[in-house]
């Protein structure tokens, strides 16, 4: 899922200053699951904003802010507010902005990463959407994401006791994980091959990416 975190209330206040009536708009998918932008968080944030200022708020949460169709439900609320405060990820915020050209839209969250839920209140980044998945070679552990330097031929000299020198308290060395997993699978010899330079043009380095599929067009 996409993992996000709410911005500090002071930053949100500054962003929305000057607007008397805000639509505080949640998203029912990823950010609901990661407890950053669902119905409950919308209620908490709206209450906090009302408490610390003269702002009026309307609260609503739609199923997904990354799909235009779900916004139909809130068109009235949008029309009657001065600005939208979106608790979606960056994708949802941009969708709202594109659908309502005359309405200011502000992000209430910082979108962090695509990752896993590791337990109560813990999430980890696991995919950078590089567009050229090599997990099959690396035993199901991504070196682009899990190595702090995205090395294809790791580990570097900063790997000690399974930890990454960038933050030994929190970050495991992705290459230690790859090594251990391939060893357990009896495939360690695959790491003796030199991995060639990556084609970064398949990432955002090639410009904002688009996907067109003729097989589903017009469905």
């Amino acid at each position: 899922m996409i993992v996000a975190e709410r911005k500090p209330i002071e930053e949100i206040r500054q962003l929305t200053a000057g607007h008397g009536k805000l639509l505080v708009l949640g998203c029912g998918t990823c950010v609901t699951v990661c407890l950053a932008g669902g119905e409950r968080e919308v209620a908490v944030l709206a209450a906090a904003l009302r408490l610390c200022g003269s702002v009026k708020t309307t609260e609503s949460t739609i199923e997904r802010q990354c799909d235009a169709e779900f916004f139909d439900k809130v068109r009235k609320e949008v029309a009657s507010c001065d600005a939208i405060l979106s608790l979606a990820c960056g994708v949802g915020v941009q969708m709202a902005a594109s659908l309502f050209p005359d309405k200011p839209v502000y992000p209430a969250l910082n979108t962090k990463f695509m990752g896993t839920n590791d337990g109560a209140g813990e999430w980890s980044e696991n995919c950078l959407a590089c567009g050229d998945c090599k997990l099959g070679i690396y035993g199901g552990i991504c070196p682009v994401t899990r190595c702090s330097k995205s090395l294809s031929n790791g580990p570097c000299g900063g790997s000690a006791d399974g930890k990454c020198e960038v933050d030994p308290e929190k970050i495991e060395c992705g290459w230690q994980l790859i090594h251990d997993r391939l060893k357990a699978l009896g495939k360690l010899n695959t790491l003796s091959e030199i991995a060639p330079p990556r084609d970064w043009s398949k990432t955002h380095s090639g410009g904002p990416r688009k996907l067109s599929r003729e097989d589903v067009a017009g469905l």
């Binding site: 995205s150 570097c156 000299g157 930890k163 960038v166 251990d180 790491l191 003796s192």
Partner: protein, 315 residues
């Protein structure tokens, strides 16, 4: 007697080929446009070592460019080795700088991954790591031996022009003290397959572990495929010794050295003595072709260490 065919013909390559125990040293460029300091450090090393390795924004702190300093010390009569990290440049910038460095007379290049920005003075910088060190080595080798760029294009100014390739004697790094230990020799072998001619190791304090690593290296015959320079960093103070033991990932400092430095009446002199002892032990290890002295902001001590270790150049 047949003549030796050199890949590049740099003074460093010739020193290795001569079979003598090679000593190189590191020169950290200043953090300001301080020509006097470069001159001073170069003067402290001149005549004492075969080649001087100029670091590239070491520990992710901005310093004078390694290529610029290398050219300056070349003009002072030293043999420069430039370091190049993957952290700050993509493949375009790297190849442009390699072409430029070659034209400036630089013939030795050490290819490194580079320390993460979080350790330096610009932690908010964007990382590059377009290539990793293994891929960088391979690119430099292909530029030299196949006369091609990373893209596969020939190194020519036009279709009809002659290929004019940069010829570098290629170095890399190896860290026997990082994990996973049993993969360290394998990674060195990858670097050799990529085209490395010599490697320098991380600072060695744990001689047992280094010995075990060298055994793996010899078992794979790697010491016959590339020259191995053992890294030595003289300890300057008790504080530095403890810092290296506790805070630097990928360096192992046994308590023995902390005790020695703590007990010493003159810790600086003790640091020099320890370095000399280490060099003597390293010389005994089969497969070690020389030492690389990384006297961090202590270049002035290199001559004393070299002299006491009995490695002063006689030529």
């Amino acid at each position: 007697m047949s003549e030796i065919v050199y890949k590049v013909g740099s003074e460093l390559e010739k020193a290795f080929a001569s079979g003598r125990f090679v000593v190189t040293a590191e020169l950290g460029p200043p953090k300001s446009a301080d020509m006097d300091l470069i001159r001073k450090k170069a003067g402290q090393l001149k005549g004492w070592v075969e080649a001087v390795n100029v670091t590239d924004n070491q520990t992710a702190i901005v310093r004078v460019s390694s290529i610029a300093v290398a050219r300056l010390i070349l003009d002072m009569g030293l043999e420069p080795i430039i370091q190049m990290t993957c952290r700050d440049r993509n493949r375009l910038a790297m190849q442009a700088d390699i072409l430029g460095a070659y034209l400036l007379g630089i013939r030795n290049l050490v290819c490194l991954t580079g320390d993460h920005m979080c350790f330096g003075n610009h932690p908010s910088a964007r990382y590059v790591f377009d290539l990793d060190s293994v891929q960088l080595i391979q690119m430099v080798r292909n530029m030299r031996d196949k006369k091609i760029f990373a893209s596969g294009d020939e190194i020519k100014n036009s279709k009809k022009a002659e290929a004019k390739e940069p010829r570098m004697f290629i170095g890399g790094a190896a860290n026997p003290f990082a994990d996973p230990f049993d993969f360290r020799a394998v990674r060195l072998e990858k670097k050799i397959n990529a085209g490395v001619d010599f490697i320098q190791t991380q600072c060695i304090y744990d001689m047992d572990r280094f010995g075990k690593w060298m055994e793996q290296v010899r078992n794979r015959g790697l010491h016959e495929k590339c020259r191995i320079l053992a890294g030595v960093t003289p300890l300057k103070s008790v504080g530095m010794t403890i810092h290296m033991r506790d805070n630097v990932a990928g360096i192992i400092v046994p308590d023995y050295y902390v005790d020695r430095m703590t007990r010493a009446k003159d810790p600086k002199q003790e640091g020099v003595t320890i370095a000399v002892e280490q060099i003597q032990k390293l010389r005994e290890i089969p497969g070690v072709a020389g030492v690389h002295l990384m006297a961090i902001e202590w270049e002035e001590k290199v001559s004393e260490i070299v002299e006491k270790a009995g490695l002063k150049k006689t030529a």
